[in-house]
């Protein structure tokens, strides 16, 4: 497929000092090792969020985000694929934070070169609030699976990705 040649960024989000919140960073670090020779894919880690993410994703055609999530409704290590259209909804109720959906919508509104495909993989975590540099055991075990999923996502672009051409705003 033509999209295989598209410029892709794999972006790991998280905080490496907050125990399980580091999962996105750990996973993309492993992905970076596996894809070291692939010039079509850039892999980055960041502890930033909100608007700062624009600086990372502008200019890429595809974005794969790996982050943590805490729904409390499934065991740690469960992998959620979030629908970018769901996150695209703009809310005015965030006191501090511009979500990924808002960030994408903003970039499109400003006419920046925004990705046409956005996939969001979020790993259920047990403890993202305690300072620590080790993942909890369940999460450590989940790392290879998540890495595999991310690699698969890179190799097989989403069919009919709703977030793509339509634009949000």
């Amino acid at each position: 497929m033509s999209t295989l040649s598209a410029k892709t960024i794999v972006l790991g989000l998280g905080n490496d000092l907050l125990t399980d919140d580091a999962i996105g960073l750990r996973v993309v670090r492993e992905v970076a090792h596996r894809l070291a020779s692939d010039s079509r894919v850039d892999v980055r880690e960041t502890t930033e969020m909100g608007l700062a993410l624009l600086d990372f994703i502008v200019g890429y055609e595809r974005v794969i985000l790996v982050d943590s999530i805490q729904t409390g409704r499934c065991p740690p290590g469960t992998i959620h694929e979030l629908d970018a259209t769901g996150l695209k909804q703009l809310t005015g109720r965030t006191p501090h934070f511009l979500g990924i959906g808002e960030t994408l919508a903003l970039g499109r509104q400003l006419g920046l070169a925004m990705p046409t495909e956005v996939r969001i993989l979020a790993v259920e975590v047990a403890d993202p609030f305690t300072l620590g540099t080790e993942l909890t055991p369940a999460l450590q075990r989940a790392v290879p699976d998540v890495v595999g999923l991310v690699l698969a996502a890179i190799r097989h672009p989403h069919a009919a990705q709703p977030a793509s051409a339509t634009g949000a705003a």
Binding site: D21, L106, P128
Partner: protein
């Protein structure tokens, strides 16, 4: 609500209360509440069904002290700036100043100026982000606008696409300056005891001078946007000055030798609800003036003015509650340190009826005035010939023992306090963050909104929105809470009757 859910919750609450009664001073959150997400408000009703008390809680960042123990103190500017992706530069700078104090070393003059330059750049960038992206939607788009429009895209719709590009573009350039010195915005590696790690190359000076000049224009333009959209709308002004968003408390902020606002350094000054100075102290004395109060129902610690003692959540002349952040800084000072900001400051008090201003929502306006000071300070520093001096660090020689470092974070006064052994390894680490300093007043704001909207056990529609407007002005720092997806702050309100039984639950997520 289903009876089973209610029962489970009440059993959990009873267990938690019992545990507290056993004498734990530090309240550990019961796992039930932990799972319940981020912004949590508990409202307690009296026998008539009116609000007796309402509280807001946010997740606690755990283990900071334990994590720090035994680590070299020099790691603290990196560790603390990495705890939270929201105000990394503030933590980095407070920790760096703490190291100066720990090693009893004054930074060189050029080193200090570079710190101030980076810090003011950060203040401008962070305040701009808040004004346009986070707080702005309430005003620029309007509090009555549908939620789907109350966001940054709505703001751009109102101020124009070009203006939107200006906001994003300026912010990016400001961050480039921070990155130039610190390597990264979130993991800055700039501050060292006695100075900084990088000097400003004279070849790079012109572009930053241009940035500062543009920054001043940008800040003045932002003030104009505020005036055009907010001040020219009588409904907004009425809301800002309404009782629902007014609290007569004390205020704290850092001031320079002329009692003008300073973000980076100075003495801490506290004024009472009439605007009279009641305390002024060196950061090293903070424990004589700031104490933390613990309530049985919350793991949050509520700071108060120690000499006055804890007088409860009361306002007026007896209040020992103080606020921090932009409005508090303006109230606690006699003026701004730069001319354009000073003019804006005078206009602010003239329009709002003199000092101090107690209207929480005026914090948004105060924030814009601080943007002007930050930009003007950048300009001043970049036109100072010493800014390109290579003499940016003095190497410390003293044996470390104890250090205290304080800065004004965008969200208010931030305290760092470490003790070490003679090798400089941490034996005690404590932080009081801006949101903790504001916790009591935030709690009062939440309660005010709850009291206005719940009568006789009946909950008026719009409770959540009104409560949110109240706490958004403080820009409470929930960095550790807001990182994980879905990326917004779920707000949950629980209402209990006078038997402390859960009767209603509202959520917005």
């Amino acid at each position: 609500m289903q009876q089973a859910v209610k029962d489970t919750f009440n059993q959990g609450a009873a267990r938690a209360n019992a545990a507290y009664q056993m004498g734990r001073r530090r309240f550990t959150v019961d796992p039930i509440t932990r799972l319940e997400g981020h912004g949590k408000i508990d409202i307690y009703l009296d026998e008539k069904g009116d609000v007796e008390r309402a509280y807001m809680q946010v997740p606690e960042l755990r283990g900071f002290e334990v994590f720090s123990l035994g680590r070299p103190a020099e790691d603290m500017p990196q560790i603390t700036s990495r705890i939270c992706g929201v105000c990394p530069t503030a933590h980095h700078m407070a920790a760096t100043k703490c190291l100066d104090d720990l090693y009893q070393v004054e930074p060189t003059s050029a080193g200090r100026k570079i710190r101030e330059l980076v810090y003011n750049t950060f203040m401008l960038e962070d305040h701009a982000l808040h004004f346009f992206v986070l707080g702005g939607p309430d005003f620029v788009v309007g509090p009555e606008a549908p939620p789907a429009e109350r966001n940054i895209v709505g703001v751009i719709g109102k101020v124009g696409l070009e203006a939107g590009k200006k906001v994003i573009g300026t912010r990016k350039r400001l961050r480039e300056l921070i990155t130039y010195f610190g390597g990264k915005v979130v993991h800055p590696v700039l501050g060292l005891p006695g100075g900084v790690s990088k000097a400003l190359d004279p070849a790079d000076l012109p572009k930053f001078q241009q940035l500062a000049k543009d920054g001043v224009e940008f800040a003045e333009w932002t003030l104009q946007v505020f005036k055009d959209i907010v001040l020219k709308n009588p409904d907004y002004v009425k809301m800002i000055t309404s009782d629902a968003f007014t609290h007569k408390t004390c205020y704290m902020g850092t001031v320079d030798e002329q009692n003008r606002v300073n973000f980076y350094d100075g003495k801490l000054r506290v004024v009472d609800c009439t605007g009279k100075e009641i305390y002024k102290f060196h950061p090293r004395q903070y424990r004589e003036f700031v104490a933390e109060h613990v309530e049985p129902w919350s793991y949050m610690k509520f700071t108060f003015l120690k000499p006055r003692g804890w007088n409860g959540f009361v306002e007026g002349p007896e209040s020992s509650i103080y606020a921090v952040a932009p409005l508090a800084r303006l109230n606690a000072a006699d003026g701004m340190a730069t001319p354009k900001a000073q003019a804006a400051y005078e206009e602010f008090y003239q329009i709002l009826g003199g000092k101090p201003v107690h209207h929480t929502l005026a914090t948004h306006w105060a924030r814009v005035i601080e943007m002007i000071q930050a930009a003007e300070t950048m300009e001043k520093l970049l036109n100072d010939p010493e800014i390109t001096s290579p003499d940016v660090r003095r190497v410390p020689t003293a044996v470390p023992k104890e250090g205290i470092g304080v800065v004004e974070a965008p969200r208010g006064t931030l305290f760092h306090h470490y003790q070490t052994d003679e090798r400089g390894c941490i034996t005690m680490a404590n932080m009081i963050v801006a949101t903790a300093n504001n916790a009591s007043r935030i709690a009062m704001s939440v309660e005010r909104a709850a009291k206005a909207l719940i009568k006789g056990g009946k909950v008026t529609e719009g409770l959540l929105n009104k409560v949110e407007m109240a706490f958004r002005a403080y820009d409470p720092c929930l960095g550790c809470a807001t990182h994980s997806l879905p990326g917004h702050l779920p707000l949950r309100v629980k209402i209990y009757d006078h038997h402390r039984q859960l009767v209603e639950e509202l959520r917005q997520d």
